[in-house]
Amino acid sequence: MLAEYLPLAVLAAIAVAFVGLSLAVSSRLGPSRPNPAKRAAYESGIIPDPATDVRGSRFPVKFYIVAMLFIIFDVEAVFLYPWAVTLRDLGWYGFGVMAVFIILLLESYYYVLRKGGLEWD
């Protein structure tokens, strides 16, 4: 049974090995001639200010809303997959069940839209 997953395991092993090898080879063979300009962090041409460094600063809460809404509709999509696979057997009953599910979620989608949850500014 697990033999079915062998290609996946090989792919994962190749991916890990490729990353590891690339890092090792570039650190071993690549010339290292640092200068101040090379060592500077590049942020779209703006010299990064330590005070507004990413590690010290906070992200706007807008990212949280987008991530949360993404999860909600991601979970909805997850339910759609087994539903789509079994829809032929379930017939109109299955359609109705999913319609209730989606209409309930559409309500929240409408609420989010009206509250401006998807507007960035």
């Binding site: 049974m1 697990l2 033999a3 997953y5 990413v54 590690r55 010290g56 600063s57 906070r58 992200f59 809460v61 807008k62 990212f63 949280y64 809303i65 991530a67 949360m68 809404l69 993404f70 999860i71 909600i72 991601d74 979970v75 909805e76 997850v78 339910f79 997959y81 087994p82 539903w83 696979v85 079994t86 057997d89 379930l90 009953y93 299955g94 069940v97 999913m98 209730v100 599910f101 989606i102 309930l104 979620l105 309500e107 929240s108 989608y109 609420y111 989010v112 509250k115 401006g116 949850g117």
Partner: protein, 221 residues
Amino acid sequence: MSAAVLAQIAAEPPGSAEFWVFLLIGALSLGSALAMVLMRNAVHAALMLVLNFFTIAVLYAVLEAQFLAVVQIIVYAGAIMVLFLFVIMLLGVDRTEPVTRKLPGQGPLAVLFGILLFGALSASVVAPFIGPGSVCGAAAGVDAGGGGLPCAGLAAANEGGNVEGIGALLFTDFVWPFEVTSVLLVIAALGAIVLGRQDEKAEDLVDVVRDPANPPDEERR
């Protein structure tokens, strides 16, 4: 823990491929979970959690729950981790919780409730394997005499395909929990908006403070 006990948990004979995968991935799962708790940097802890999600996906795959394995990666490793990282970024990576004891006797209480929680979780894991419900009833075709719950077995459950089996059960026998999930997601969406839209809340506060003629209503949000 001896190899025989582990093999029983994995329901596979020692030496089979499933057994070794379970041993390796189980150890990796425990290790990454411990590392997640012990990491000092919150972002490193989040990365350990990603590793943990992947190992659990592999365990699902070993249990022949392919759909759950894929969903585990898509939803947990994909979406929920993004949310965790955003929350870490919202709070700032370098911020550390001040280690102050706010409640008297907080330390001993934490130990006590930790032990209680561990006991409850252990009991919930072990109980299905020692009670009468652990024995398959007549529905499996073989009545073991334990009078247990009817169960079908892995081969029958996955007969028409894993996803087909989930769909056939989810939208018939478990249609009520399925619809309630929708309500749960609605609550999550509303919560995100209510908590996240700070501008409205700030305006409300200003209104309350600047309008003495209109006393603040305790019920109002």
